[in-house]
């Protein structure tokens, strides 16, 4: 093969996964080419104009803590920001922002252009080039071959994309983009199993045609901290979202036209996400629900285009307008882009290793929706990890695999490569076993050290992080050292909260565990120099002290979990010959090829007896070799 050009890494696709991957490899010192179908759509949000929320907000904080770019991008381009779930406990606080889509894309493009070692280029990849079981480059539609030591495929929903508007369907990527057809064939030729998924998006309407007086305004909040730990949140002008409801009339129109809904006519065979159903699915599955909420969300500051969250539909365009106009406030609305459904190819993520490299082809990494996930945040998280791991592979270093006890990113990727997915995968906090440890507020404490080690967190950023960490440790130590006496002043205060008086002297730490007591209150009785304490340090210390009982319990569970994770399974283990395993376990283990006993134990159909048996086999092998 004659190569026209040569890079260390080629990233195919400049969506949320591709951008993170390319910036990571470039920052880690590798010459990187980022290919996009259109330079005008770098960092496109083809669906909702928002980032974050439950579990997703945690993901973005983690991406930032490791040195990824999405957090800063959102902080620079948000048009509304809120902290959700504040009443449901520290583990599940969820930051969510509405983002100016156009501004975000411009910002991302500028960032990519300004990144050393990174070339951003418009081009269509049609073939993954391999030699034996190794990737060697990609071929472009222009029949140019580009050499690479690692290729990261981040093609989103473009692989053999097929859009549906009612019974009309045609080959297309999202939002009128080109689909990627040849690349799907290239992956099939390489022996990958492709599955067909479906997703959808609601219509966009003209904001000036909405009667807002019939809707409920949902304003943003003023927050100090956005998604990034590395810079304060710029205080920007915020705009509101608006809430309205579907009516019985809307539902009646849907019921009347179900024969034109490709989901119900059998036109669509791809499997859609349960957490993101179309309006017709909601009406069909929950017929007793009298109405469904619809959020009107601005797509940006420089446009009047509005996104209708909750109104995802693939009914024909004329029916869509009829439906929308039955919704209070939307009686005279004009549609700017109709809603549609899109079917696309996704890999079976069981074909991936935990570092997101394919098992079959060395140097070929995959990230984002092609791996069967949905969501910008899930995509970005995988892109970052694929980029990091491609770079580490080229450098001959050990892969970076985050554990389930370490990050939501770890939960996400472990779920994918261990359990696979038969529907578009969305991360939920309920999927994390150690939710209390994986809080959005401590993502930096969990991951920034790692980010610095691999070179994505700069020395300056790291120094700032260490200062914060040190302040936390110092304050914790002080709380342990200081004593609160059962003085009349203290007990009067406690009585004011209806609490039992202090019987004997306790440490300030123990005192802080009492409900209603916080650091500023504590500082009335102990010299804490609270004026100088950063509110985030205070927050961290209060959380760690107040929930210490629960945190310690989860940490004990983590220790047990880690013991099983530490039992490595050699990659060449032949499960077929292990007759002590149940046949289901044998089959599944051979498919997943888990890297540790812990991972093996998470595969459904693998029983405790199978794990015990495997443990014995591993020990036998170890001694056989010794």
């Amino acid at each position: 093969m004659g190569f026209a050009q040569s890079y260390d890494v080629v990233v195919i696709g400049a969506g949320h996964a591709g951008c993170e991957a390319a910036v990571a490899t470039a920052k880690m010192g590798l010459r990187t080419l980022l290919l996009t179908l259109s330079l005008d759509n770098v960092g496109l949000m083809p669906c909702n104009p928002s980032i974050g929320g439950a579990a997703k907000g945690q993901l973005v904080r983690e991406i930032d803590a490791l040195g990824g770019v999405m957090g800063i991008g959102v902080d620079q381009n948000y048009i509304q920001i809120r902290m959700l779930n504040t009443s449901k406990g520290p583990a599940v606080h969820a930051l969510r922002a509405q983002v100016d889509k156009i501004a975000y894309m411009r910002w991302m493009k500028r960032l990519l252009e300004a990144t050393p070692n990174l070339d951003l280029k418009q081009g269509v990849a049609t073939k993954i080039l391999t030699q034996g079981e190794r990737v060697v480059g990609v071929r472009l539609k222009t029949e140019i071959d580009i050499a690479a030591q690692a290729v990261i495929v981040a093609t989103g929903t473009y692989l053999r994309g097929l859009v549906h508007y009612g019974l009309v369907h045609y080959s297309s990527g999202p939002q009128g983009q080109h689909p990627s057809v040849e690349l799907a064939h290239s992956l099939l030729e390489l022996g990958f199993e492709l599955q067909r998924f479906k997703t959808g998006t609601p219509p966009r309407i003209h904001g000036d045609t909405v009667n807002y007086s019939k809707t409920t305004e949902m304003p943003g909040e003023e927050l100090r901290r956005g998604f990034s730990f590395r810079a304060p949140l710029p205080q920007r002008r915020q705009v509101s979202c608006w809430l309205t409801w579907t009516t019985q009339e809307t539902h009646e129109i849907i019921r009347r036209n179900l024969d034109k809904a490709p989901m119900y006519t059998g036109e669509i065979t791809g499997i859609g996400p349960r957490y993101c159903p179309s309006l017709e699915a909601k009406v069909y599955e929950f017929p007793d629900k009298p109405s469904h909420q619809i959020f009107i969300e601005p797509e940006g500051l420089d446009t009047r285009e509005m996104y209708l969250a909750g109104f995802s539909t693939s009914l024909p365009e004329d029916i869509q307008i009829e439906m929308i106009r039955t919704v209070p406030g939307l009686e005279n609305v004009k549609i700017m882009r109709p809603g549609y459904a899109i079917e696309y190819d996704a890999l079976n993520p069981l074909d991936l290793k935990p570092n997101l490299e394919t098992k079959a082809i060395r140097g070929l990494f995959c990230a984002g929706q092609i791996n069967g996930t949905s969501g910008y945040e899930e995509a970005a998280a995988q892109g970052l990890m694929a980029g990091i791991n491609a770079a580490l592979m080229i450098k001959g270093a050990e892969p970076l695999v985050l554990k389930r006890s370490q990050a939501y990113i770890g939960v996400l990727i472990d779920d994918l490569v261990t359990k696979g997915t038969r529907e578009p995968y969305r991360l939920l906090t309920a999927k994390a076993e150690y939710r209390l440890l994986l809080r959005q507020d401590n993502a930096d404490l969990r991951l920034t050290e790692l980010g610095h080690q691999i070179g994505l967190i700069s020395d300056t950023e790291y120094a700032a992080f260490l200062r914060k960490k040190e302040s936390i440790d110092k304050l914790l130590a002080k709380l342990r050292a200081e004593t609160i006496q059962p003085s009349p002043a203290v007990n009067e205060k406690l009585a004011g909260f209806g609490q039992a008086p202090l019987q004997r002297a306790v440490s300030a730490e123990v005192f802080l565990r009492r409900p209603e007591i916080n650091l500023s209150l504590l500082s009335e009785f102990v010299e804490l120099e609270t004026e100088e304490i950063d509110p985030e340090v205070a927050e961290q210390v209060e959380l760690q002290v107040k929930y210490s009982g629960y945190i310690e319990r989860q940490q004990e569970q983590v220790e047990r979990f880690l013991k099983l994770e530490a039992k490595k399974i050699p990659p060449d283990l032949q499960y077929e010959s292990l007759h002590g395993l149940s046949s289901e376990a044998r089959e599944k283990l051979a498919r997943v090829r888990p890297e540790s006993l812990g991972q093996a134990a998470r595969i459904s159909g693998v029983s405790p007896a199978d794990i015990n048996y495997l443990a014995i086999i591993l020990e036998q092998r170890r001694r056989g070799k010794a």
Binding site: V92, A430, Q554
Partner: protein, 463 residues
């Protein structure tokens, strides 16, 4: 089912079950010494930390007590520190009196102190993994584990008797329902999650009391298996042995006399209309000299503590003596039946205050075999008062199930406390998930996927 594969401390009865002279409970793991130390009183005196201070491979005499502080058995404890042990971990072996009863009770005490019940073949597995057994034995170990695990799983499934799994499922179901609601409201904060129909406070109270009721049936089950511990007490020569013989004479003795190796108490089992009675006759205490009698009194007090029912025997013909009053003062009112022997003779001085405390005496003549039916009625009546309900099905007979229920109960208690204490949802879910997992260990159901599937099935989710 949870997979366990770590170095936590495990315990099991390691001698064959049966009526051997001695039984051995083996405890292995990092905390083996500390765990046994919590329940062991060397020479009968509580000395925290004692076992931690002794040399490896030494034997110590003393008592095991349970979490209520009651003496369970008199034992010899052998402390063996790693690596010169079967598992190559710290190991403590407790030799107790033979028979299932003593061994089970000692095991229960050890489990209560922080060990967990060993999986089938787990000691052998650890021995192998820690390099103790050589390679040639590996295959045998595999077979053993495979066979034992499968057998125990099969047994576990068939063991779910009389609707235990039904009841456990119902409780688990209710908790999963709550979790579905809580998790949905956490993961989909902007979706419309209808309010929980049941009051969480009530539901947790209900779930906990249901689990507690199942644990209670284990106690009932134990009584059915081991017999209702029934002690005959009374001053010398009041006719204790005659009463025992009279009861035995009419009922078929199903187990022969078991003389304890160090205690001179006779135990006999009889079947009282379907309810097994383990009659403990303190007549076995030979009261020939004052010195021995004092020991006898001490032992009788121990017997009272262990008894489910006490037959307090007095002499109808001679009336009450100061000794009777002395004994009466030590007896718990709820569990005592006043029995007046020698009712074939003329009455003595009456029973005064005792009738107020213990109710009307049952008049019997052990010699003439009269009044025995009335006595049996009273025993059965008493048994039902202390909740040995013969109509209620005994559901929990398996120690593994009992442990899971106890853990579930504790988790539910924690969740309830957290809720009452105003803790947020994300913390309450931690204990609820734990409770669901423990209950699932009994029924073989797994949890987390359940909750997520149900969120989508129950609630209309999605923007």
């Amino acid at each position: 089912m949870k997979i366990r594969f770590d170095h936590d401390t495990i315990a099991a009865i390691s001698t064959p079950l049966g009526e051997g002279g001695l039984a051995v409970i083996r405890v292995s793991g990092d905390d083996a010494v500390a765990v046994v130390d919590r329940v062991f009183a060397p020479g009968g005196k509580v000395k925290p930390g004692f076992l931690g201070s002794v040399a490896s491979h030494t034997v110590h005499y003393g008592y095991i007590h349970n979490r209520q502080g009651e003496r369970v058995d008199e034992v010899l404890v052998t402390v063996m520190l790693a690596p010169r042990t079967f598992t190559r971990e710290d190991t403590v072996e407790i030799s107790c009196h033979g028979g299932i009863v003593s061994a089970q009770r000692v095991l229960e005490a050890v489990l209560g102190a922080g060990a967990r019940l060993a999986e089938p073949g787990e000691f052998t597995k650890r021995a192998f993994l820690n390099g103790r057994i050589d390679l040639a034995q590996a295959e045998a170990v595999i077979d053993l584990i495979r066979a034992k695990t499968e057998a125990s799983q099969a047994v576990a499934l068939t063991n779910l008797r009389g609707g235990l799994s039904e009841r456990v499922r119902r409780i688990r179901e209710a908790i999963v329902e709550v979790l579905t609601y809580l998790e949905a409201s956490i993961d989909f904060p902007e979706d419309e999650i209808p309010p929980l129909e049941q009051d969480l406070d009530q539901l947790l109270t209900w779930a906990r009391s249901e689990v507690a009721a199942l644990i209670e049936t284990a106690r009932t089950g134990r009584i059915y298996r081991e017999g209702l511990a029934t002690v005959i007490l009374g001053r010398p020569n009041v006719g204790k042995s005659s009463l025992l013989n009279a009861l035995l004479g009419e009922e078929r003795a199903i187990v022969t006399q078991i003389p304890g190796t160090t205690r001179d108490i006779l135990e006999e089992q009889i079947n009282l209309r379907g309810l097994p009675l383990r009659i403990i006759d303190t007549a076995g205490i030979r009261a020939t000299t004052d010195e021995v009698e004092r020991i006898g009194v001490t032992r009788s007090i121990e017997a009272i503590e262990r008894a489910d029912i006490i037959l307090f025997l007095v002499d109808y013909s001679s009336g009450l003596t100061p000794e009777d009053w002395e004994v009466a003062a030590t007896l718990p009112v709820g569990r005592t039946i006043l029995v007046a022997n020698k009712a074939d003779l003329p009455s003595g001085s009456g029973f005064g205050d005792l009738v107020e405390r213990f109710g009307e005496p049952v008049l019997i003549s052990a010699k003439e075999h009269t009044g025995l039916d009335e006595l049996k009625d009273r025993i059965l009546e008493k048994a039902s008062v202390i909740k040995v309900d013969r109509t209620e099905t005994v559901l929990v007979t398996n120690l593994r199930h009992l442990e899971a229920l106890r853990q579930a109960c504790e988790s539910l208690e924690n969740a309830h406390q957290a809720f009452v204490g105003g803790m947020p949802a994300d913390l309450i879910t931690i204990d609820l998930h734990a409770a669901v997992a423990y209950l699932g260990e009994i029924t073989g159901d797994t949890a987390s996927a359940d909750v997520i599937d149900r969120i989508f099935a129950n609630f209309c989710i999605g923007k």
